[in-house]
Amino acid sequence: MRFRDHRVVGDIMTLAQRYRDEGADELVFYDITASPQGRSVDRSWVQRIARVLDIPFCVAGGIRSVADAETVLNAGAEKISINSPALSDPNLIDALSRRFGAQCVVVGIDSERTAAGYRAFQFTGDPGRTRESGRDVLEWVREVQERGAGEIVLNCMGSDGVRQGYDIEQLQAVRAVCRVPLVASGGAGAIEHFSAAFRDAGVDAALAASVFHNGVIAIGALKQALRSAGIEVRP
């Protein structure tokens, strides 16, 4: 589940409780404007969410230091996810992993297929500042694992928001070099897209936002379909 503030989808407390009740396995809260604008998100909501959620949740956006991460984890989040700040300062991954353990350090990668292969992009929350980071995605995936990332969320930008399915080929390429949990992101538009990501790309989890926010896919029906397809999921 991915919450982003491109458009207002409703009060996050209400949504968080709705998804909890519908059977989401984990929630990710993104403030995708935090990094481009060089500010951190207001963290007071993290504790309010932690009081009502009895499933794991991850906070992403604007975490640029061990202290930023500590605030969020102390407030009750399970994991923190870093993306643009990791590209600017890869040592941040090592520092976070040493301090809190790999299990709560998620590295998000915004990836796009280019003539030069899969490249990692930075500051994707702001179209005006989005830029190619100069890093090859497969090399970056290897590096972040070496540095102590405990999970990788691969957001395939080409398929993000289009709802034509996850980029299976790209996920497969990353899976081949990824020995920590890999989460597919970007492109979910139908139930078959989820089963394809699990079956064909071997991902450990699939993340989606708009299809859930808009009610295009109900979590219960999705999980039922995945179980029928032989993919083990929590009911």
């Binding site: 009895d54 399970e78 809190f100 709560c104 899976r175 949990p181």
Partner: protein
């Protein structure tokens, strides 16, 4: 004697455990004071981070010996459960030695990423009070890179590439490898069962 106490083991992330107990109507105190810990009705040993760091913090606070002597119900969660054993392969660390055995590293492969993160079911081996009311369809949330092999203390096991202990118990000391505070209704039931232990 007073209430449920969460040991302040220095790591972040005590809040989610406190909130989970709060949802069950229990205001748990967080403390690293030996006297308070010894006097509590029930003690929870959480743990996030590495075994070596956690043991170092417990020893520095003079709590290793205090923990070994507790006679009230004690629940170790995740790393907190692993610390109850003799040793951990994580940093080759000497742990509390309350339960016998060594914590081993889960071996990663592309088909089986480590840390193991996700929802799994348990296979109960004994009829433990901690698992009361929970069937084989209950899922629990796991996040760990190390695990306790099966032993006489194993009450329930889980499989992830290999079988490992998911719930352990020896006398008043019990432990769960999963995070009950983040395991939805089934996790709440485990905590509730723990609160019912005398």
């Amino acid at each position: 004697m007073s209430g449920t106490l969460i040991i302040d083991s220095g790591g972040a992330n005590l809040a989610s455990l406190q909130f989970a107990l709060e949802r069950l109507g229990v205001a748990a105190r967080v403390s690293a004071e030996a006297r308070e810990i010894a006097a509590a009705d029930r003690v929870v040993l959480p743990g996030v981070g590495s075994a070596a760091d956690a043991m170092q913090r417990l020893r520095a606070a003079g709590l290793a010996e205090v923990l070994r002597r507790l006679t009230q119900p004690v629940l170790g969660i995740c790393l907190g459960m692993q610390l109850l054993f003799e040793r951990s392969a994580e940093g080759d660390t000497e742990c509390l030695g309350i339960l016998p055995g060594t914590v081993r590293r889960l071996e990663p492969s592309t088909a089986r990423p480590v840390p193991h993160m996700g929802w799994n079911r348990l296979q109960a081996l004994t009829d433990d009070a901690l698992l009361k009311g929970l069937g084989t369809e209950a899922y629990f949330y796991f996040v760990h890179g190390y695990a306790v092999p099966l032993g006489p203390f194993t009450c329930a096991q889980t499989h992830y590439g290999e079988d490992f202990s998911a719930v352990v118990r020896q006398g008043n000391f019990c432990g769960v490898q999963f995070h009950p505070e983040r395991s939805a209704a089934s996790g709440a039931r485990v905590l509730e069962n723990f609160l019912g232990l005398r």
